[in-house]
């Protein structure tokens, strides 16, 4: 299996008035060609920053990025801005969390879809519009011609997300980042969109990175999973392995906090108590220690390394689930 993208030793830091904020800390990740990789974590865990940094989309004078990203055999991090830009659309594309804010409010749907076709693929206006309509029907939007003339604010959330997907796939990217593509949508639409993404990935032979906080989504739509916490990957495995042999208390906690369609409305979700550690001033031990029901003194004192449990299952815990050492009450 060839590697579509590999990320090694990635650090992302932001300069803030309150100090240096370390959002991503030494992430290593491989995305195999044709596979779908899920990145899971709470909000603030660094998964969105990591995926944007991987793509080279983070800009701003206060951003410091370290590490190496290799895409399709070429080192993205060594490319000029121009070359990176040339990878966008045709090589990599991204779907954003909130289609309301990610679509330009003042431009028509048709203009927004056809723009990349014209700029990146050099189509003329007519061709681009025609192709845009095709793309809209590809993302299962009825009456695409009429849709082209509409403004984003005139669409429903699901429709907007479809439009965004249409934009993302317009230039046949090899790798698609989907950053929480369904968070802003209601539950029934979520399922449709995720199914659409899976189908498109299969039909268009794309690799996909699915960023989400929802382990349930990961279970159904990915081949591999990386769990992120406080800027680090804390557990990583193939999807089947992860669910069969969960190592991290944090992953377990995430799993328990998934809303379930079968759940009665009003039933209480189990939430993860406590907060993420302060990103500017991190504790020296495990970042999850204050929230972990299994935490020991060692967890407070030493930062756990990423260890391999075999068959590619990595985890970062002194006392992983299934471990026999005595636990705290």
């Amino acid at each position: 299996m060839t590697t579509m993208m590999s990320i090694s030793d990635m650090y992302v830091r932001f300069e803030t008035p309150f100090g240096l904020l370390e959002a991503v800390r030494g992430v290593n990740l491989e995305i195999p060609a044709g596979a779908s990789v899920g990145i899971v974590g709470e909000s603030g865990s660094g998964k969105t920053v990591m995926s944007r940094a991987a793509m080279g989309l983070l800009s701003g004078s206060n951003v410091r990025r370290e590490g190496k990203v290799v895409f399709n055999g070429r080192e993205l991090t060594a490319m000029s801005k121009e070359e990176v830009r040339n990878q966008f659309g045709t090589g990599m594309a991204m779907i954003f969390q909130d289609p309301m804010t990610a679509l330009n409010p003042v431009r028509r749907v048709g203009t927004q879809i056809s723009e990349s076709l014209r700029v990146r693929l050099g189509m003329d206006k007519k061709q681009a519009m025609q192709r845009s309509a095709e793309l809209l029907s590809l993302v299962r939007i009825p009456d695409p011609e009429a849709m082209l003339r509409k403004f984003p604010y005139q669409l429903s959330g699901g429709m907007r997300q479809r439009v965004m997907i249409a934009i993302a796939i317009s230039c046949n990217p090899e790798l698609l980042f989907a950053d929480e593509p369904t968070t802003a949508l209601d539950v029934t639409v979520q399922a449709q969109i995720l199914q659409l993404l899976s189908d498109l990935r299969r039909d268009l032979k794309m690799s996909m990175v699915l960023v989400t906080h929802d382990l349930g989504v990961v279970a159904n739509h990915t081949d591999f999973v990386a769990v992120m916490y406080a800027g680090e990957i804390v557990e990583q495995a193939s999807t089947t392995e992860l669910f069969a042999n969960m190592k991290m208390p944090y992953t377990r906690a995430l799993l328990e906090s998934i809303p379930n369609i079968e759940m009665k409305s009003g039933a209480r979700l189990k939430v993860i108590e406590g907060r993420l550690p302060n990103p500017v001033d991190r504790p020296k031990g495990c970042g999850f220690v204050t929230r972990c029901t299994y935490a020991q003194q060692k967890c407070h004192d030493e930062h756990p390394p990423l260890v391999d449990a075999g068959n590619g299952h990595l985890y970062r815990c002194w006392y992983p689930l299934g471990h026999t050492i005595a636990r705290k009450q």
């Binding site: 989309l57 966008f88 954003f96 409010p105 003042v106 965004m164 230039c171």
Partner: protein
């Protein structure tokens, strides 16, 4: 619905103009002496009585206003009174208005033409040296009153270098270059402050817009920064800028008093000043009424344009 929106805006226009002119007419009532006495300092009592009748001062505040309003609506803006006769305000304004309109148009065009690239650029380079340089320079310049800039320009460009005439206005018919030569210094003096204001507005809105997801989205499409700035970020950021520009139009037409005086451009601002200092209250009322009409109409135009620039506002408007 859309229709009712326009009715509402039109009503607003009428109310504003009504209030402004009625306020002006009340000023006359506030005077400690009879306006007739001020208008005709050497006139006989009979002449003054005649004048009082003519301008309707004998009808009480409301009657006086209604008489003026009736004439104003018909395009009769009243007269300027001399001891030996009168001159119609409209004939004066016929001369003054084109001057002020040109002054206003050039000032706006120059200000926007400079402010838009500067605003976009400094938002793009926010926090960098270019941004700081632009912001600080404009900030300093905008703190110098426009008449001070005008005086300095006169000294350097007019008197020392003798590149530009320091006085007077020339119409197009006198030659385009002549026309522009006389406009450059007044327009530049008026523009400096506006450029700073506009750049600030645009920069702030652009910075906000550049943080939006749709900019990231545009970047992820592989678009060039230039295209992202102009096609994606500028338009949604420009509504405040153009609104503020529209609000300035009325002020530029009637409020460029000092600049018009310094350069002897003698547009509407000077007419306002002449009316005030010559105690020509009827003329003042009419001119200020016209300026407020301009103000409201420009607002209206900007509302329409804002609908094109940012289609979201159209929706808001229906709900409003």
């Amino acid at each position: 619905m859309r229709g009712s929106f326009w009715v509402q805006r039109f009503a607003q226009l009428l109310i504003t103009v009504f209030c402004v002119t009625f306020g002006c007419s009340l000023l006359v009532q506030l005077l400690p002496v009879s306006p007739a006495e001020i208008l005709l300092p050497v006139g006989s009592p009979e002449e003054r009585e005649l004048l009082t009748k003519e301008i309707g001062l004998d009808r009480g505040p409301i009657g006086y206003y209604l008489k003026w309003l009736g004439e104003f609506v018909q395009g009769d803006f009243g007269d300027i009174y001399y001891s030996g006769g009168t001159e119609s305000v409209s004939s004066r304004l016929a001369v003054a208005f084109p001057r002020s309109i040109w002054l206003m148009i050039y000032t706006q065009v120059l200000s926007l033409a400079v402010a838009i690239p500067l605003g976009v650029w400094s938002a793009y380079r926010v926090g960098k040296r270019a941004d700081k340089a632009i912001s600080n320079t404009l900030f300093t310049l905008s703190s110098i009153p426009n008449f001070a800039i005008a005086l300095i320009l006169v000294l350097i460009l007019g008197v020392r270098l003798q590149w530009l005439p320091t006085l007077d206005y020339q119409p197009y018919s006198a030659g385009i270059w002549e026309h522009f030569k006389h406009m450059i210094m007044p327009v530049v003096s008026l523009s400096v402050g506006l450029i700073a204001a506009y750049t600030r507005l645009l920069r702030a809105d652009m910075i906000a817009a550049l943080r939006e997801d749709y900019i990231l989205m545009a970047a992820s499409k592989g678009l060039t920064d230039r295209r992202i700035l102009w096609r994606h970020a500028f338009r949604p950021s420009s509504v405040t800028l153009f609104t503020s520009a529209a609000l300035n139009m009325g002020a530029l037409i009637g409020g460029a008093i000092v600049i018009e005086t310094i350069f002897a451009t003698y547009g509407v601002g000077f007419e306002v000043f002449a009316a005030i200092s010559g105690r020509q209250y009827i003329a003042l009322q009419s001119i200020v009424g016209l300026i407020s009409i301009f103000y409201v109409v420009f607002n209206l135009i900007v509302d329409i344009l804002a609908g094109y620039v940012d289609p979201r506002t159209r929706d808001r408007r229906v709900n409003a």
